[in-house]
């Protein structure tokens, strides 16, 4: 049994942000290295310089609203931007603390596992947050994907067919198990569900 202690106070001063236990724990809990976390912090700070403190020693409680985060160039053109931010926020309204912000890009990073990505992709596509991908969710997804290029009949048909294809237990909506099963057959999912930061 290995045991180790983390020194309670490590006060390296690096790039004007004091690296605290917060960063250490972030390092352990996400797929990022310290440098990347610092860079992410920079990005987060950039979004609202007057709101976000540079010093994260005491883990200050500050949250940025959805409207600010959605404006990042990485998300700006993404049709699912609101859903992405909402699925990672604790309150479901899209207000992200720094932790959640890091969490978001961690899941969307290259190293995150397929399972983790699938869980959050499911959340993102689940517009009405009922834990199923039902027809309504599919319609919304399609309209965002194609910028409402398909006719309503086509949308209807695509929804119906895709649910038919992917639904294993025959309840006419996709549960997470159905979704995950489908994802395993799409080898490209790992590389496309990825945002470089």
């Amino acid at each position: 049994m290995k045991i180790f202690i983390v020194p309670s106070i490590i006060s390296h001063r690096l790039q004007t942000i004091s690296v605290s236990a917060v960063f250490l724990s972030l390092q352990d809990c996400t797929f990022f290295t310290r440098k990347e976390i610092l860079r992410l912090h920079g990005r987060y700070h950039e979004l609202a310089p007057h709101l976000v403190p540079m010093d994260y020693t005491n883990d200050p409680d500050c949250k940025l609203p959805l409207a600010l985060i959605v404006n990042m160039p990485e998300l700006k053109e993404n049709p699912f931007r609101n859903r992405i931010v909402e699925s990672f926020s604790e309150d479901g309204m899209g207000n992200l603390s720094f932790n959640e912000f890091v969490d978001m890009f961690s899941v969307l990073s290259e190293t995150a596992s397929r399972e983790l990505k699938a869980i959050y992709a499911f959340k993102i596509y689940d517009f009405n947050v009922d834990n199923y991908l039902c027809k309504e969710d599919l319609e919304k997804t399609l309209n965002r994907l194609t910028k409402e290029e398909l006719t309503p009949e086509e949308v209807e048909l695509v929804c119906q067919k895709s649910i038919e294809e992917a639904d294993l237990d025959g309840d006419n909506k996709l549960s997470f198990a159905d979704f995950e099963n489908m994802i395993t057959r799409a080898p490209d999912f790992l590389s496309t569900f990825h945002i470089r930061i």
Binding site: I3, K76, E100, L145, L150, D171, P187, R196
Partner: protein, 838 residues
């Protein structure tokens, strides 16, 4: 009134308990298998606990399942009635929304099924990960001590059920969490970090868990009063961990081209990105090769330069031909000496560099710090190839694992809907283009689904066959023509060289320039023939883009393999077999120069292609044709060109140890040129591109014809071609491979005790049987692997079938259950109304 009705709704359930799976036991038994599957062989106890947890969570009101609530509470009689009543109201509201004919109780059972709970609610996640940490611990410790577990954590179904009944919901969740923390604490650091990272919880939650685990550890530490040395150990561990992290982030900062890759992917998506990533992979292969040859061959030789006969002056053309000034440098095989390098006897040896005899060498050997050049040359090349082979096979298997999928064509539409959006793309026009593409692809798919059974008539089929035959005939004929042309042209050049070697050279510059003719011709063929192939493919008009890509790759590959085959014959069969006929002092250097020329010409022609094919074509189509469309970046052809260049580099390492450096420079330049060309001239590809599949194919191609072909050539050269007698590290030897033998003999001479080694060497290395045996074992291992993968594929198919069957079973069971419930319900209602009447 409502209350009464509600109460009685539960009543028959309890009555029906024995025969209906709604009963706890029943639920447990009939679904435990399914549950076990879902919680990944967690065993019935853990699966049950999962269910329990879900219930608890439902009570907490944290549950996301919404209208579907807990199944357990109804059995607990009247204390749950109020909740049930509320729930019933809820149910009536949402019922039409679901549009199901199933009763509330059925819905409850359904909702608690693990397929609908796992990975969503917090409690379920925690218990899932509790199970995983448990498994991990069991795997790490060969025998888990039962006392480590809290009583309730011991594997017992009954225990769980009782505990859940006695402790209230909040308590169970807390204890579950505690147990998870406990498990986490007992894991090793790396396992814990891996677990934490994989948990689909919010970061705040995760860091709480982490802090708890750490605090517990601290407590145990402080309570046990550590002795000084183990305290020191912990500090060392911490320091090591810190430095490991900083090393990791240092490595990360080394990642090449982050920004450039991000820009490319933001604009063109994953397909074009894969070309640049492939380029990066090749770059790393070459850097590795360069480091190895540089450290073990070039550097020692450069420190001890042999005396050269005459300095040649630099004319500039050498940069293209690689001959002349460069021929007597560390770049080529011929420069390396065949004696043992030593600091003190350098002058001694250097003075008589060509006619170095065994005597001088022995003098040097007797002193320390000796460096046996022939041996180093032999082993450096061998080891470099071996390691490259291992890395290639590893990355190939990894890539196979990633793109591994079962090829059944259903659920294409769903995959298209959910997995086709490339989240990397951030440029507005590309995003619009991608939406359009997805829209058209969906329409095409719909059309396909609707008219699946449109069959071609026999006449059409015949016509298609004819067209395909014609296209293949054109391609094969043109390939054959080109290869024959190269064969005769190289023959002609060879004879030309023979003639020149008899007469004196009048114009050395012209002579050197004439050496460029063959590379230019080959590169021209490599540039033009793919265009012809594209024309043929256009004529064929393939329906599926993937078939089109495969056919294009196949044809290009055929051409390149044939060309390289003829060239290898030319070098190893003509030049190496009879170097005296063209008065070559050192045929290895000559072949090395040829490879350098080919590599460089290939690069120059790629540049020309980029300039004319992409840049000027865009200008032309924009200005003259007035079209808005830009050319599309042909990923497959470009990657094949990279593979071709890499094959040349691998072929040439033996003759030109510095060829990897040339290749590195070439790749670096190529990256920037291609990147700017792509950004400037190209548009995102319109056709869908299966990235991971294509990457797998390219890695396989890099491994199989490219690397394997190169290593076969190199091995052949080492094993059976006589090296030149007056230059290079292997002069005076019959084959390069005898360097090892001579070394072993010397060892034996110095130390007779090592005769066993010599004998082993004679039997193992010199006997071709051993080589065949090794190759055979390698092939067998590959065969087994492919068989295992095949078996897994079959098993996955079977399991999938099983899941579908079980779905059917479930449906059947639920309808049965429903009908029974309906039957019981009607008499029960009557009873209730009587009750309330009293």
């Amino acid at each position: 009134m409502a209350r009464n009705v509600n109460f009685d709704l539960n009543h028959p359930l309890v009555e029906a308990g024995l025969e209906s799976p709604i009963d706890e036991e029943g639920v447990h038994d009939s679904f435990s298998q399914l549950i076990a599957e879902q919680s990944q062989n967690g065993g019935p106890s853990e699966a049950f606990e999962l269910q329990q947890l879900q219930r608890d969570l439902d009570e907490e009101g944290r549950d996301d399942v919404g209208y579907l609530s807990s199944p357990g509470h109804e059995f607990r009689g009247s204390r749950q009635v109020r909740r049930d009543m509320e729930w019933e109201d809820d149910e009536t509201q949402t019922d039409p929304l679901i549009g199901e004919r199933w009763s509330s109780a059925t819905m409850k059972v359904l909702s608690s099924m693990p397929s609908r709970t796992i990975g969503r609610s917090r409690g379920a996640i925690i218990s899932q990960y509790y199970n995983r940490t448990m498994q991990l611990r069991r795997r790490r410790q060969s025998r888990p001590a039962i006392r480590d577990f809290s009583r309730s954590a011991r594997p017992s179904i009954r225990g769980y059920g009782m505990e859940a009944d006695s402790i209230d919901a909040e308590g169970t969740e807390v204890s579950k969490r505690e147990r998870l923390v406990n498990n986490l604490q007992n894991l090793s650091v790396s396992d814990r970090v891996r677990m934490l990272r994989a948990m689909p919880l919010s970061v705040a939650e995760k860091s709480d868990l982490r802090m708890l685990a750490l605090q517990k550890e601290k407590r145990t530490l402080s309570s046990s009063k550590l002795p000084c040395c183990s305290r020191l150990k912990y500090y060392i561990i911490i320091a090591a961990r810190q430095s490991w992290y900083s090393w990791l982030s240092f490595l990360h900062s080394l990642q090449l081209w982050q920004v450039a890759l991000k820009r490319v992917s933001g604009r063109f998506g994953t397909g074009v990105l894969s070309y640049f990533l492939f380029l990066k992979t090749l770059l790393f292969f070459n850097i590795f090769l360069f480091l190895v040859t540089g450290a073990f061959l070039v550097l020692p030789q450069a420190v001890h330069p042999p005396v050269l006969p005459a300095e040649r002056n630099f004319s500039g053309l050498e940069l293209l031909t690689g001959a002349g000034y460069f021929s007597d440098t560390v770049m080529y095989y011929g420069y390396y000496c065949n004696y043992t390098l030593h600091k003190s006897c350098r002058d001694d040896v250097g003075g008589q560099n060509v006619s170095v005899s065994n005597g001088t060498r022995l003098d040097c050997v007797s002193k320390h710090h000796s460096y046996n050049m022939p041996l180093a040359y032999f082993f450096t090349i061998g080891v470099a190839f071996f390691i490259t082979c291992i890395i290639l096979v590893y990355s190939m298997s990894k890539s196979f694992g990633q793109s591994f999928r079962i090829d059944n064509s259903h659920s294409i539409l769903a995959i298209k809907v959910f997995c086709s959006w490339d989240f990397k793309v951030i440029k507005k026009t590309s995003v619009r283009l991608m939406s359009e593409n997805i829209g058209t692809q969906l329409k095409e798919l719909l059309a396909e689904v609707n008219h699946k059974n449109v069959k071609n008539t026999a006449c059409q089929k015949l016509w298609r066959l004819l067209v395909h035959g014609l296209a293949w005939a054109i391609c094969i004929a043109s390939t054959a023509a080109c290869v024959t042309a190269i064969y005769y042209f190289s023959d002609h050049m060879h004879q030309n060289l023979q003639q020149r070697s008899r007469s004196t050279i009048k114009d050395p510059l012209l002579f050197e320039a004439s050496l460029l003719a063959l590379p230019v011709m080959v590169s021209l063929i490599n540039l033009l023939l793919p265009g012809l192939f594209n024309l043929a493919a256009w004529m064929e008009d393939y329906e599926s883009p993937s078939v089109r890509t495969y056919v294009a790759i196949g044809r290009n590959l055929l051409l390149k393999v044939c060309v390289l085959g003829v060239l290898c014959y030319h070098w190893l069969g003509r030049v190496a077999a009879d170097p005296a006929s063209i008065k070559l002092k050192c045929w290895e250097s000559f072949v090395g120069q040829e490879l350098y020329r080919f590599l460089l010409m290939e690069f120059i022609f790629t540049l020309l292609d980029t300039l004319f094919g992409e840049f000027l074509w865009r200008l032309f189509s924009e200005r003259v044709l007035k079209r808005r469309r830009k050319p599309v970046f042909d990923i497959a052809r470009n990657v094949l060109e990279l593979i071709y260049g890499q094959t040349l580099a691998w072929l040439g390492v033996l003759f030109t140890p510095l060829l990897p450096a040339v290749q590195i420079i070439k790749l670096l330049l190529l990256f920037y040129i291609k990147k700017s060309s792509v950004m400037m001239n190209c548009q995102a590809p319109r056709k869908p591109y299966r990235v991971s599949q294509m990457t797998t194919i390219f890695i396989t191609l890099l491994c199989f014809p490219s690397f394997l072909g190169a290593s076969v050539c190199v091995t052949y050269t080492m094993w059976s071609i006589t090296p030149s007698s007056s230059c290079g590290p292997f002069r005076e030897l019959k084959t390069m491979f005898q360097a090892g033998k001579r070394w072993v003999e010397e060892l034996e001479k110095d130390n007779p005790n090592l005769s066993l080694l010599a004998r082993a060497h004679a039997y193992l290395v010199e006997n071709p049987l051993f080589l065949f045996l090794g190759a055979g074992i390698f092939l067998i291992v590959i065969y087994f692997h492919s068989q295992v993968v095949d078996g897994q594929r079959k098993i996955i198919n079977l399991l999938q079938e099983q899941i579908e069957n079980e779905g059917e079973d479930k449906k059947f069971l639920i309808t049965r259950l429903q009908s029974i419930h309906e039957q019981k319900r009607t008499p029960a209602r009557r009873l209730t109304s009587q009750d309330s009447g009293c």
